[in-house]
């Protein structure tokens, strides 16, 4: 058995999902479809595309992201996601925590980047 490693990795990825989304949105606004594609899949932080949408919805309710409709072609509108000021603040706080966490674990494991 893997001593719950698969489960742990799943939970770590799930916990990081919101912040990864905020990280992408800090640079620019994303169409929902592209954002979900970037967050899920083989190289993504989320496993399944469909499961990202409830998370984005919760982030919207929490005031971390906003959505706007943009007409990308006549008669064709996409929902675009953007980050709020609160989202930026939450992301900043996470980045600080993440760097400290990573440094600490690296120090124990001897896995610092050289």
């Amino acid at each position: 058995m893997d001593h719950g490693l698969t489960d742990l990795v799943g939970r770590m990825r799930r916990s990081a999902l919101e912040y990864c989304a905020l990280g992408l949105l800090r640079e620019e606004e994303w169409a929902g479809f592209d954002l979900v594609r970037a967050l899920a899949g083989d190289d993504g932080i989320a496993e399944r595309e469909g499961t990202v949408y409830p998370v984005l919805a919760q982030m919207r309710r929490d005031g971390l992201v906003t959505t706007t409709w943009r007409e990308v072609a006549p008669g064709r509108s996409y929902r675009y996601y953007g980050i709020t000021e609160e989202g930026c603040a939450v992301l900043d706080a996470f980045v600080a925590e993440w760097l400290a966490f990573r440094t600490r674990v690296d120090a124990y494991l001897g896995t610092q980047a050289t």
Partner: protein, 235 residues
Amino acid sequence: VSDRRRQDALVREYLRRLGWELREMGYGERDQLMAEITDHIALAREELENPSDEEVAALLDRMGTPEEVAAEASKLSPRAGGGTALDGGFEALGLPADLGTAAAPETAAPSVGGEQELRAVSLLLAGGLLLGVGWVFGVVLLWRSTVFSTRDKVLGTAVLPGGVLPAVYVLIRPFGQGALLHLLELAVCMALPIGTSVFLHRRLRAMQVASGFEVFRARRAAHAAERARNEMGLG
């Protein structure tokens, strides 16, 4: 049947199951989630040129199962509508408390018209007053329904046959034993059939919402509402 239509059916089935899995969610949230996932699938399909059935199935697989999506959604937002006094009542009867929300068999999520079912529920409740005959018709209608699950049907039939008829009997019967006991008996005879009717009605409503047409209609409404909000600059 063309590839396209067969694949449309695959997608429709996926969305129908998703709608069913999300049936306990608040209306607004569910409509929006359904709309986003519907759009996502449509866009993902557009990327494929003349896809095979397998490619469309793989696309749906990448979305995650309806159960997985619903599990994520239920973790995040408090479930609306669940956990009523009624559920407690079922528990007291030795039936599972989540009877109304427990995963129903896949076959229990058809498209729903509901007129026959409404008639069945009404007759089960009050039909007993027509010398008991109406109640029998109610049972027949209930069991002929393709919408209710077997569990719903057993419940509708077995929880106090006759609907409110026994309550009427208790009411007009002379007070023999203690008055308190008599009142208690009356309360139980009223609560059981009314509770069952409310439960069946809620099930019906949930299934109507989960069926395809409603999803489509809700999706359009959610789009329109959000667009209006954005135009007012509140987005």
